[in-house]
Symmetry: C2
C-alpha cells in the first residue's frame, strides 16, 4: 500500500510538470501575441501619421502621439507594479535565483505577482522601453509552477485540496525549478538551456530524476508553443516553430579560425562594457532606494523614462540622414521619413520596432545595411537608456536590451574590421553582431554554461559553440575584476543571504567554531510552553530550528547540553496552536499525536507566535517534543572547517546546522546567514555592517 502511494506520488510529479509546461507555454504565447499586436497597432498608427506628415510638415503630431502612447502604456505598467505587487518589478530572475537558492523572498511566487507581471510586461514592451519580455516569462513559469504544484492560491483564497503531499519547501522548489526551465524554453526555444539555467541558478545536489522531470517540463513547453503557434499562423500541425524569441537561423554561415582572437577581443570589450553597465546601474538603484521609494514617484520616474526614450528615438530618426534602398530590410514597417522614394531610414530599423525585432535585424541584415555613425549613435543612446531602465518599477527583462546594445557595437566592430583589412575573407557582420551581443550580455549577467547553450539553441547552430563560449568566458572574467553580475548586485541590494557556488578561498583555515552563532537557544525534550514561547519570540534567534538537548549542566557556561535532536520553528508553532500540551493529554483532550499531514495543512503560511493566544495557565503546561523532533539531523564538529560546513550546506540544501563538540554537547548553530555574512566579510570587510543591519 505504501509502495503504491509512492508510485502515485511519483506519477503526479510528472503530471504536475506536464501542466506547468503547458501553462507556461500558454502564458508565454499570450504575452508574445499581445506585445506583437499592441506594438503593431502603435507602430502602424505612428507610421501612417509620419508618412503623411513628412510631406505636410506636421511631424509634431506623430511625435506627440508617440510620446503620449508610450507614457500611457508605461504608466499603466508602473501602476500595476508600484501599487499592485512591487516584487513584479524587473526581470524577476534575481528573485527566482534567491528562491531556488533556498531563501524565501515574500510574494515571489504568488498569482497576484504573475498577473501584474504578465500584463505589466506587455505594456512596458509595447510602451517602447528598452526592456525584453524574456526575464518576466521565466518568472511567470516559476509562479505557475508554484501555483499548480500546491493546488492552492493564497491570493484567491482557494484550496483545490490536491497534490497535498507536495506542500513542502523542497517539493515546491523542485517544481519551481521546472517552471523556470519552462520559462527559458518558451522565451528562447532552448529546452536544454532551460534545464541548465535551473541547475546553474538553483540546484545543488544533482538529482537525476528531478533533472529529467525538469527537462520533460521544458520540452513540453516548447512543444505546446509549437502547436499553438502553428495554429495561430494558420498551419495547424506543422511543428517547425522555434521559441518565441527567434534570432533567426544562422545556417550555412561559418567563421574562420583567424577570427577567434577578434572574438576574444570582443569578449574583453563586453566584459568592460558590462562592468560599466553594472556599476552605473548599481549607483542608479541605490539612488532610487534612497529617493524614489514611494509608489507615486516610481510611476512618475517610469513615465519620465518612457518619454525620454520616445523622444530620443524620434529625434535620432529625425536627425539621421542614413538611407538604404528598400527590399533588403526585414523589419515589418520600414519607415521612409526624409529618405528618397524607394529608400528607408536605417535608424528607424533600430528605433521604430520592438527591441527584439531590432536584434534580429542586426543579426541578419546583409552587409552594408548600416552606416557607422548610425550604429555608434544608436549604441550610445541605447546603453544609457537600458542602464536607466533596469530597476524601474515595471516588469523588464534584461536580456534583450543587453543583446541589442551588444549587437550594435558588435556589428560596428565587424564593419570596422572588414574596412581596415579589406583583403581577407571575413564573416558576415551579423556574426560579429551575435558575438557582440553575447559579450555584452555575458558582461552584464555573468552567466556561463546556460547562457552559452541558450544562445546556441536560439541561433540553431552548434558550430558557434566555441566562439560563443570563449566570448562569454572572457566577458565574465574581465567583468568579475570590477564587480559582480547584475543579478547578484540586485540580490545584494535586497540584502538576501544567498550562498555562492564555492566556499570562500580562505575557508579551510576557519573553523565552524568561528562561524557559528553562539550561544544558541536550546529546548529540552519535555519543555515548558512558556519557555518555548519565549524562545520563539526572541528577536536575535530567529532561526528555523532549535536544538533539543538533555538537561544542561548548570555549571557549564560554554555548551548548551547534550544534543538530542532538532525541532523546527514551524512545528513548534503548530504544536502550540493545536495545544498539544501534556497536561491536556492526561485529561484526555489529546487523543493522538500530530502527523505530517497536520503540519502540511498549515504550509506555507504558519501562524506567527504573536497571533497565538496562550493563557497564563497554558504557559505552565509542557510539551513533549520527542515525537516531533528530528532525532538524527546532520551535525558538524566544532573543529570542522568552514569549507566543510559550506559544502554540507550547499550539497544538501541545509538551512541550519548544529555545531557540537566531541562529547556531542551543543556549541552553537550555523545558519545560511552566518555563511553568507562570512562570504561578504572575506570579500570586502566594508560590506559586513550593511548586511548585519538587514533582516
Amino acid at each position: 500500500a505504501n509502495n503504491k502511494k509512492l508510485i502515485r506520488i511519483n506519477i503526479n510529479r510528472w503530471v504536475v510538470m506536464l501542466m506547468i509546461g503547458i501553462l507556461t507555454a500558454l502564458v508565454g504565447v499570450v504575452i508574445d501575441i499581445l506585445v506583437h499586436q499592441l506594438a503593431g497597432l502603435k507602430y502602424s498608427l505612428l507610421k501612417s501619421w509620419i508618412d503623411s506628415c513628412v510631406e505636410e510638415g506636421c511631424l509634431a503630431i506623430p511625435f506627440a502621439l508617440w510620446v503620449a502612447i508610450d507614457a500611457l502604456f508605461v504608466c499603466f505598467a508602473a501602476i500595476l507594479v508600484a501599487y499592485g505587487e512591487p516584487v513584479a518589478a524587473g526581470s524577476g530572475i534575481p528573485q527566482i535565483k534567491c528562491y531556488l537558492n533556498g531563501v524565501k523572498v515574500p510574494h515571489v511566487v504568488r498569482i497576484k505577482t504573475l498577473i501584474s507581471k504578465v500584463i505589466g510586461v506587455v505594456f512596458s514592451v509595447a510602451g517602447g522601453l528598452a526592456v525584453g519580455k524574456e526575464g518576466p516569462m521565466i518568472h511567470s513559469g516559476a509562479v505557475i509552477a508554484a501555483g499548480v504544484s500546491q493546488g492552492m492560491s493564497t491570493t484567491f483564497k482557494r484550496d483545490l485540496k490536491i497534490f497535498k503531499y507536495f506542500r513542502t519547501d523542497t517539493e515546491k522548489r523542485d517544481f519551481v525549478s521546472g517552471g523556470a526551465a519552462a520559462g527559458v524554453s518558451a522565451a528562447f526555444g532552448a529546452p536544454v538551456g532551460g534545464v541548465l539555467f535551473s541547475l546553474e541558478e538553483g540546484a545543488s545536489f544533482w538529482n537525476q530524476a528531478l533533472t529529467w522531470r525538469i527537462f520533460f517540463c521544458s520540452v513540453t513547453t516548447l512543444f505546446t508553443l509549437n502547436i499553438v503557434l502553428s495554429v495561430y499562423f494558420g498551419r495547424p500541425g506543422e511543428l517547425a516553430y522555434p521559441g518565441l524569441l527567434n534570432f533567426g537561423r544562422f545556417t550555412g554561415v561559418s567563421y574562420f579560425w583567424y577570427e577567434i582572437p577578434l572574438f576574444l577581443l570582443m569578449g574583453v570589450a563586453g566584459g568592460l562594457s558590462g562592468a560599466l553597465f553594472n556599476f552605473v546601474n548599481h549607483k542608479i538603484c541605490i539612488f532610487r532606494m534612497k529617493y524614489v521609494y514611494k509608489p507615486f514617484m516610481q510611476v512618475v520616474e517610469a513615465m519620465m523614462v518612457a518619454i525620454v526614450t520616445a523622444t530620443l528615438a524620434f529625434v535620432s530618426i529625425y536627425v539621421s540622414r542614413d538611407c538604404k534602398p528598400l527590399g533588403q530590410d526585414p523589419s515589418e514597417k520600414p519607415l521612409q521619413f526624409f529618405c528618397s522614394d524607394g529608400e528607408y531610414s536605417t535608424m528607424a530599423t533600430m528605433m521604430f520596432q520592438t527591441p527584439e525585432q531590432s536584434v534580429k535585424s542586426l543579426f541578419h541584415d546583409p552587409p552594408n545595411s548600416y552606416n557607422i555613425v548610425t550604429l555608434s549613435v544608436f549604441c550610445v543612446i541605447y546603453f544609457i537608456l537600458a542602464c536607466w531602465t533596469y530597476g524601474l518599477s515595471v516588469p523588464s527583462g534584461l536580456f534583450i536590451p543587453s543583446l541589442l546594445c551588444g549587437a550594435g557595437w558588435g556589428r560596428l566592430f565587424g564593419i570596422g574590421v572588414s574596412h581596415l583589412v579589406p583583403n581577407i575573407a571575413w564573416s558576415a557582420p551579423g556574426i560579429y553582431a551575435l558575438m557582440g551581443a553575447a559579450a555584452q550580455l555575458g558582461g552584464v549577467v555573468r552567466m556561463t554554461i546556460s547562457l552559452t547553450v541558450i544562445l546556441m539553441e536560439a541561433t540553431g547552430n552548434v558550430s558557434y559553440g566555441l566562439p560563443l563560449m570563449l566570448v562569454l568566458l572572457i566577458a565574465k572574467w574581465v567583468g568579475d575584476i570590477f564587480n559582480e553580475g547584475l543579478y547578484d548586485i540586485h540580490i545584494r541590494l535586497m540584502s538576501v543571504p544567498i550562498l555562492g557556488w564555492e566556499p570562500p578561498a580562505t575557508s579551510t583555515t576557519i573553523s565552524a567554531r568561528q562561524v557559528m552563532s553562539h550561544p544558541v537557544t536550546t529546548l529540552q525534550q519535555v519543555e515548558k510552553v512558556g519557555r518555548i514561547v519565549e524562545a520563539l519570540k526572541e528577536p536575535h534567534s530567529n532561526h528555523n530550528g532549535f536544538p533539543v538537548v538533555d538537561v544542561p549542566d548548570e555549571t557549564d557556561q560554554v555548551t548548551s547540553g547534550r544534543f538530542r535532536g532538532l525541532i523546527l520553528r514551524s512545528h513548534l508553532l503548530v504544536l502550540i496552536k493545536r495545544k498539544m500540551f501534556l497536561e491536556r493529554g492526561q485529561t484526555g483532550a489529546i487523543r493522538r499525536n500530530l502527523e505530517m499531514k497536520d503540519f502540511r495543512e498549515a504550509y506555507p503560511r504558519f501562524p506567527s507566535i504573536h497571533e497565538l493566544n496562550i493563557s497564563p495557565e497554558e504557559m505552565e503546561c509542557s510539551i513533549d517534543l520527542r515525537p516531533y523532533m528530528n532525532p538524527a539531523p546532520y551535525t558538524v564538529s566544532e573543529d570542522a572547517s568552514l569549507h566543510r560546513v559550506f559544502r554540507l550546506f550547499r550539497a544538501l540544501g541545509l538551512r541550519h546546522l548544529v555545531v557540537v563538540n566531541k562529547d556531542n554537547l551543543v556549541m552553537g548553530i550555523v545558519t545560511r546567514k552566518d555563511l553568507a555574512r562570512y562570504r561578504l566579510v572575506s570579500l570586502r570587510s566594508l560590506d559586513l555592517e550593511e548586511l548585519q543591519m538587514s533582516h
Copy 2:
C-alpha cells in the same frame, strides 16, 4: 602568496582541460581516419573481387578473403585485449561509470589500456564486427584525462613532476569527467551532451566551476576536431565539420502531431526489444564468465564471431534479390552483385560498409530504397550478432549496433505505416528510422537526458527534441519493468559496489545502525605500530579509513570509544613506510612531520602492507596519529535513516562514514559497499549472497 598559489592552480586546471580536449580530439581523429582507411581498403579489395567473380563464378574466393580478413583483424584486436589489457574490452562506459561513481576499477585509466583500446577498436570495427567506436572513444578521453592531469604514467614509469597538486582522487576524478565529456563531444559532435553525460554518470554535487571546465574541455575537442578535419579534407580553416559520428542533418523535415502516438508505440517496442537484448546478453556473459575465461579461448570466440558475421553478411547479400536503381544510394561503394546493370543490391548497403555508414543510409535514403523483406532479415541477423558481440574480448561500442538495429526496424515501421494508411501525409521513413534507433538504444542503455541531447545535437535539429525524449522515456520505463540497463548489468557482473541515484524506497524506515559494519576496528590517538599493522592486515575490515578514538572503556562491549578523528589507510601506510615512529623522534631521527606533499608523492599506488618490512622492535614503537588524522570528518548518528546516510554519500562523494551514538562514541562505520549491498538486498534478496562473495 597562498592566494597566488590558488590562482595558479586554478589556471592550471583550465590548461589541463585544454590539453585533454585537444588530445582527445586527436585520438578521436586518428581512430576515425584509421577505421575509414582500413575499412576502405578492405571493401575496395573485396568489391573488385566480387565484381569480377560474379560473372566468372568464382565468388568463393572473395567470400574466403572476406572471412579471412575479418578473422585476422578481429584476432589481432582480441589478442591485444585478452593478453594485453583485459579491461580494454567492451565499450568502457561501465568502467568509467564506476570510476566517476567513486569506485576504482584497476587499470581503467592506464596508458596501456588506452593503447590497447585505440588499436583494438580500429581493428574490431574494420574487422566487420557489429561494434561502434564511440564507447571506446569516450573511454579514451577518460584515460587521456587521467594521464595528463597526473603528469605521470605508471606504465611508462615516467613522472613529469608537474601538476603534483592534482594527485588526489577528487581532482583526478574531476578531470576524468572532463575527458569523458570530451570523448562524447568527439564521437557525436555533442559538446552539451558530453557535459550532461558526465553529470548523469558521475557527478553528485553540481559544481558550477567544474561543470564549466568540463564544458570548455568538450567544446575544445569539437573545435580541434573541426580544424583537423578541415585540413584532412583539404579545406583548412573552414569550421563547419560536426563530430566524427555524423548522422547527417535532418533539415527541413518536420513531423506531424498525429505521429506522436506512433512514436510512443515505437518507444514501447524499443523498451521490449532492449530488455530482450539485455536479458540475452546477460545470459551470454554469465556463460562467458564460467567457460570462456582463458585468454586463448577469448581470442578464439572473437574470431568465431568475426567469421560468423562475415559469413552471414555474404550469404544474405548472396541470397537477396532486392535491387534498386543506382544514383540514390549514398554508400561509397554500391555493390552490383547479381543485380542488373545500373542497379545495386540494397542488402549490400547495409552489410557491405561500416555499421556507422549503414545507420546514415537508413536515416537518409529516400523512401522506397529498401524493401520489407530485406529490412526484416537484416534486423533479425543484426540483433543476434550485436547481442553476441557485446562482451567479447575486443574493444566494442554499443551505441552504433543498437542504433543500426533500431534504425532498421524503425524504417520498417515507417514503411508499414505509410503502406497501411496511404491517404495521410507521413514523415519520411528516415524519421521513423531515427525514432527506432533512439528507442532501441534507449531500451538497451536506459540513459535519458544525456542521450536525448546527444541525439539532438548529432541530428542538428532541436525540433525532434520532444519526440526523441518521449521515445527514450517510454523505452526506459518499459525496459525497466524487465531488467536494468546493459551498463548496469555489466557493472553488476563486475561485482562493483556502485551507488544508484536515489536511495532505496524503504530507506526511511531503516536506520544507520542496521546498515553499518560493526564492530569496527579503531585506533587510538597514539597507537602501537603492531596494532596498526594488525588493523591494516585484517581481511574483513578493508576500509579506506579507520576511526581514531580515546582509550575505550574495557567494560563497554557495544561501542569502540569516543570518536576523535579519522585516518586514511593510505596515510597509515605512508607513515609506516617512512618510519614516523615516536621513539625515533626522541633519538632525533625524524626532524619534521610529514606534509601533504609526502602523501601525494605516493599517490595513486600506495605501498601494500605486505610489502613493508617492519622489524619486531619497530612493532613495539608507536605513532602519533593526531597530526595526520582528520579531526572533524562527517559523522552520522546511529538513529539517522538510511535515506539520510545515502544522501550524504551521494552528495559529498563519501567513501566511508563513521556512525556515532549520542555520546559521540563510535558505533560502526558505513562504507559504499554496505549501501550498495542494501540496495541489492532490497531489490532482490537472491543477489545478496552473490555480492558478498565478491571482493
